[in-house]
């Protein structure tokens, strides 16, 4: 193992630009001049309205697309070479109906290496225990609730023990109660398996509750408007949402998303 003097950050983005061609023949600028560094073990949330390029950012880091310009690095590597270091969780669970939950979780092993061995199966078992879905190991995804399916999807993203977990609105399709429950589940999982997490959401409360730092993005072209450190003690609990630190953080995020209108409204309520 080579050990450089200073280990590279988990994620490094420098002057990243990306655009999609439009049908009219022009281009849609999805990202423009994005600079971002994510420390190892950090929980970073990215918030912004639809079309601000937050999903594009994850796609670049997952190696699903290549940036038009700029530097994109995961653990100091090009994303194309960092496949095994990255786990991906989508908005939909994207489990395969014809495989049992356990086989779904082992799919990355099957694709990246070979038939899963006893060690892999033990790892899958441990993950399912941790996520509270061990009882469903031999079930098929269609027999599980949405929240349980998304837990399985998180287990699948963790099976290769990645350094970086990319989550693209993972709880966006769940009902409000399950969503909150899943947030605390994720925090518990994160405290057990200290990964770097990049969590894209358009829920301000979710971002503030989960993250160490929240990045606010603005749309067309996607740019980083602000980085807000969340000053809220861990472990976070449902009660954390009533603390002044949480309220201050959500207010600052809102200001950056809605601009002065939000500030005026805040003054109004304060008076």
């Amino acid at each position: 193992m080579r050990e450089p003097a200073e280990p590279p950050p988990a994620v490094l983005l420098l002057g990243v630009r990306h655009a999609y061609p439009t049908r009219a023949g022009g281009e849609l600028r999805a990202l423009d001049g994005v600079d971002l560094t994510v420390r190892r073990g950090e929980f970073l949330a990215i918030v912004g309205p639809s079309g601000c390029g937050k999903s594009t950012l994850l796609r670049l880091l997952a190696g699903l697309e290549r940036a038009a310009a700029g530097t994109v690095q995961v653990e100091g590597l090009d994303p194309a070479a960092a496949g095994d270091l990255v786990g991906l969780v989508f908005q939909k669970p994207t489990l395969l109906d014809w495989l049992t939950v356990e086989r779904n979780i082992l799919l990355p092993v099957r694709i990246r290496r070979d038939r899963p061995g006893p060690a892999d199966r033990a790892a899958a078992r441990a993950l399912m225990e941790m996520a509270g879905i061990a009882a469903f190991a031999e079930r098929h995804p269609s027999e599980l609730s949405g929240g349980m399916q998304q837990r399985a999807a998180i287990c699948r993203a963790l099976i290769q023990d990645p350094e970086l977990l990319l989550m693209d609105e993972p709880f966006g399709a769940l009902d409000a109660l399950t969503r909150e429950e899943m947030c605390f589940e994720l925090l518990r999982i994160w405290s057990e398996r200290r990964k770097t997490i990049l969590f894209v959401t358009h829920s301000i409360a979710e971002a503030a509750l989960l993250a160490d730092r929240v990045v606010v993005m603005t749309p067309r072209p996607g740019r980083i408007a602000a980085e807000i450190a969340i000053d809220l003690p861990r472990p976070r609990r449902p009660a954390s949402m009533a603390e002044p630190g949480f309220l201050a953080a959500t207010q600052r995020i809102r200001e950056h998303i809605y601009g002065d209108a939000a500030r005026a409204a805040a003054v109004g309520t304060a008076l």
Partner: protein, 272 residues
């Protein structure tokens, strides 16, 4: 008050009726139709070569019984060979068409052309080219079953959800891995929809082929018996063909339920 059933529990007889009515009602309809047919033929004294009564058809079938298995097997062989050939060619071609727009552009017009040509019209020409044997008959059954199977398999491969594609690419799955582990299983409901059409069309293709060239088979039996005005025998052969079609369709459904239960689930509306 609480816990008391709002509706009286249905009687045992009523429940038995609910369970059986799916079979009983169509069976009664069929029996009624047969009885009407029988009565009409008797009452109007319709000559047997014009329209035989069901009882005459049954009589003829029993009389011909020793000759039937050979003819049934001959037709069945053509159906199954044509069906298998269409499966073995349609699936790989569908994979190529779905994977490469260039292949799709190059072959789709040609495929459409073969499909728009009436197979009945090609059958005599095929006999000239391929001879009067099994090869000609299999080819006709294959040509008729092939296209619908190809189209539905291509649709299935192209209907793979974007997230599944992303998942495969994020795991750096190769073409064959992605095909085998993700795309083909995900296309199964479409493939089976195509197979159900293809097996029914194979029966039609086999009969058309036997009309043109055969010395055995149920289609051959129809041409032979009508040539001698043995209409009851022709009807009996048609009945056997219908039964064969239903049995083969049922076999495809059974294979799907047994080996690809998720595909059978996907093709059915949610029960309960």
């Amino acid at each position: 008050m609480s816990g008391a059933p709002l509706l009286p529990r249905p009687s045992r007889l009523a429940r038995a009726w609910f369970a059986a009515r799916g079979v009983v009602v169509p069976a009664l309809t069929l029996l009624g139709l047969l009885a009407a047919w029988e009565g009409l033929v008797q009452a109007l004294a319709i000559p047997v070569f014009l329209l035989p009564a069901p009882s005459r058809i049954l009589e003829e079938m029993l009389a011909m019984w020793p000759h039937l298995p050979g003819n049934i097997l001959a037709t069945l062989a053509t159906v199954l060979l044509g069906f298998l050939a269409s499966l073995l060619l349609a699936v790989p071609l569908a994979v190529a068409l779905a994977a490469s727009p260039a292949v799709a552009r190059a072959t789709y017009p040609l495929l459409l052309m073969t499909q728009s040509t009436p197979i009945v019209a090609i059958a005599p020409i095929l006999v000239v080219a391929l001879g009067t044997g099994q090869l000609s008959r299999t080819t006709v059954a294959f040509l008729i079953a092939f296209f619908p199977l190809l189209v539905s398999t291509v649709s299935g491969l192209l209907a793979v959800p974007r997230e599944v594609e992303d998942l495969a690419r994020s795991l750096r799955a190769g073409f064959w891995q992605s095909l085998w582990l993700l795309r083909l299983p995900s296309a199964m409901p479409f493939l089976f929809a195509g197979l159900k059409v293809a097996i029914a069309l194979s029966v039609i293709g086999a009969v058309v082929a036997e009309f043109v060239t055969a010395n055995a088979g149920l289609g051959y039996l129809i041409t032979q018996s009508t040539a001698f005005f043995n209409t009851p025998m022709a009807f009996a052969a048609v009945l056997l063909l219908a039964l064969m079609g239903i049995a083969l369709f049922g076999a495809v459904v059974l294979v799907e339920r047994l080996f690809f239960p998720w595909s059978a689930r996907a093709g059915r509306p949610e029960r309960r």
